[in-house]
């Protein structure tokens, strides 16, 4: 059965003006890269990546974007929310030298990934990028992990100046990595792709999701037809290279295409 849980929000952590982390006391049993479908039964159910996950609690880190997330930002600790999942594919756990390239609200899922990689003895370099200091997330949390982190902002207001892709480009010229992970805006990943074309990698994608269980077909990726909610959201290089819509278009709730 596709179980649904309805629980009070146990904790709300303000990360930036527009990004909050919501914590629930529940043993989700998820793997890094997976997501939940979250709803308040007021209209709308949306996918969010898991940013923290232990046997007693899990968190999702959410950016205020539209109707649903705006309503969510008005909720308080103790308010009930309902979720199902975890769904989807997860990141391959590579035990050697890995590079994590992240951008914006999509970085926090790397926290869950990094914890798991550390447990498996990987040697981690994280690029945590954002546009500007006030939008930078999880820097403190990553600092508590014993990993090499490079913070970067487009405007240089925090960490280095430049995009995550700029930093990745520089690192890859100097060093060798066995595996690259990317999670961030699609155009960031699109820009990253040529930079890491000699590497093995996995990208975390976002597409509009409705059923999240692989039947409605709203989240299929052209031309493969694979469903981002089942075969994704984490896709390996071989798949990414075949995607004709990557960096070009995605589909609205109606299924109609919109260009990035």
């Amino acid at each position: 059965m596709d179980e649904r849980y309805t629980l009070p929000i146990a904790k709300i952590t303000k990360e930036t003006e527009d990004i909050n982390t919501y914590t629930f006391k529940h043993n989700l049993g998820a793997k890094p890269g997976q997501f939940i479908m979250l709803t308040d039964f007021e209209g709308g159910e949306k996918p969010f990546s898991i940013s923290v996950c232990s046997e007693t609690e899990f968190s999702v880190t959410i950016k205020r974007i539209g109707d649903f997330t705006t309503r969510l930002f008005k909720k308080n600790v103790g308010d009930l929310m309902s979720f199902r999942g975890a769904y989807g594919s997860s990141f391959f756990i590579h035990k050697k030298r890995v590079l994590l390239v992240g951008g914006g609200y999509a970085v926090p899922t790397f926290y869950f990934l990094a914890k798991t990689l550390i447990e498996n003895g990987s040697e981690i370099t994280l690029i945590n990028g954002s546009r500007t200091k006030s939008e930078h997330v999880f820097a403190d949390k990553f600092a508590t992990l014993n990993i090499r982190t490079i913070n970067t902002t487009d405007d240089g207001s925090f960490g280095e100046k430049g995009t995550s892709v700029d930093i990745a480009d520089r690192l890859l010229e100097e060093e060798k990595f066995d595996f690259v992970y990317a999670s961030g805006p699609e155009m960031m990943m699109k820009a990253l792709q040529p930079v890491i074309s000699d590497n093995k990698y996995e990208f975390l994608f976002e597409r509009y999701m409705k059923c999240a269980i692989g039947i409605c077909g709203n989240c299929t990726m052209d031309p493969l037809g694979i469903r981002l909610c089942v075969e994704g959201p984490v896709l390996p290089k071989e798949k990414v290279e075949q995607l004709s819509e990557f960096g070009k278009y995605h589909r609205k709730p109606s299924g109609s295409r919109v260009n990035f």
């Binding site: 059965m1 596709d2 649904r4 309805t6 479908m37 709803t39 039964f41 209209g43 709308g44 159910e45 949306k46 009930l80 309902s82 409705k210 059923c211 269980i213 692989g214 039947i215 409605c216 077909g217 709203n218 299929t220 990726m221 052209d222 031309p223 493969l224 037809g225 694979i226 469903r227 089942v230 589909r251 609205k252 709730p253 109606s254 299924g255 109609s256 295409r257």
Partner: protein, 306 residues
């Protein structure tokens, strides 16, 4: 795989399995993915004249034996929808059923005119969506007059065979089927989802689906589908696409015995993965091997009702 080859309204199909409307049918690639996994015929999401975003989430919820869903007929509209089908047809010769939805005859006619210009092989009239009650009221398939009127109007202008998709939620299914046949339907697809039903979140005291209610699909509707198909098969002379709860080879065989020519497989994609079509193909072949049937067309049917 020769054992499961068959024909449907003159078209050769590699397997009797049909992807029903609304399942994986949003994009050319979704359809193609199902073909790669063994489906014989694909159906598009039900297309409307104007783009629809569908209902807000949650749009689907599980219970024991099935799902309720209320997608709300989300689709990119007939023009973009047909473009997906044409794109699909560039890569595949698998027959495509174009499902269309409207609430009146004029709109069905307009939709048919579009479909005529596409590469779709069949047009299916969704007369039976149970998830847009609030917007459109009781499904057309509950009224003999409306079924007759719409089927006749579409048949008159359609350049490809016309399939009427019927609702299970009626007491007089064979009368409605007979009316559709008399009006010129070349085939029937049955059943659409059952009910609808509702599920409740007991902590928040709210319906789980944002549309409140949704039609039932999955294994638990199979007995209803089998009953209705058998009743209709006993009366009409046009082929039936038997749909509802088919999850394994046994179910598919039962559907054929009840009177189906082709068999829809929708919700089972959740239960058994996208590989479900190949699995069911293999399971049907296994049954035929064990019971010495040389071809799917040799499978016997239940005795007709009088």
């Amino acid at each position: 795989m020769n054992k499961i080859k068959t024909e449907f309204l003159g078209a050769k199909v590699s397997s009797p399995l049909v992807l029903p409307a609304g399942v994986m049918g949003m994009s050319f690639s979704g359809l193609n993915y199902c073909v790669e996994n063994g489906i014989g015929v694909v159906t598009s999401k039900s297309l409307t004249l104007v783009e629809r975003s569908g209902h807000n989430g949650p749009v689907i919820a599980e219970f024991e034996g099935g799902f309720i869903n209320a997608m709300g007929l989300c689709n990119p509209g007939i023009v973009e929808g047909l473009a997906e089908i044409n794109e699909f047809k560039q890569h595949s010769d698998t027959p495509v059923i174009v499902s269309v939805f409207a609430t009146n005859t004029e709109d069905f006619i307009e939709l048919t005119n579009y479909v005529n210009k596409s590469q779709g092989d069949f047009i299916e009239l969704n007369l039976s969506c149970p998830n847009v009650f609030d917007e459109f009221g009781i499904p057309l398939a509950a009224s003999k007059d409306k079924v007759a009127e719409i089927v006749r109007a579409v048949k008159e202008i359609s350049t490809i065979p016309v399939i009427a998709k019927l609702s299970p939620n009626v007491y007089n299914i064979s009368e409605i089927a007979l009316v559709a046949e008399a009006a010129g339907a070349d085939a029937l697809c049955m059943i659409n989802t059952v009910g609808p039903g509702m599920l409740i979140d007991k902590k928040m005291v709210k319906p789980i689906l944002s549309n409140r209610t949704g039609g039932l699909s999955g294994p638990c509707i199979k007995p209803i589908a089998l009953r209705l198909i058998h009743e209709v098969y006993s009366k009409v002379n046009i082929p039936i696409i038997g749909t509802g709860g088919v999850t394994n080879g046994d179910d598919a065989i039962e559907m054929i015995m009840a009177g189906s020519t082709l068999i829809g497989v929708g919700t089972a994609v959740y239960y058994r993965g996208i590989e479900v079509f190949d699995k069911i193909n293999q399971e049907m072949i296994k049954f035929m091997d064990e019971e010495n049937y040389a071809s799917i067309n040799d499978l016997p049917k239940l005795e007709k009702l009088k």
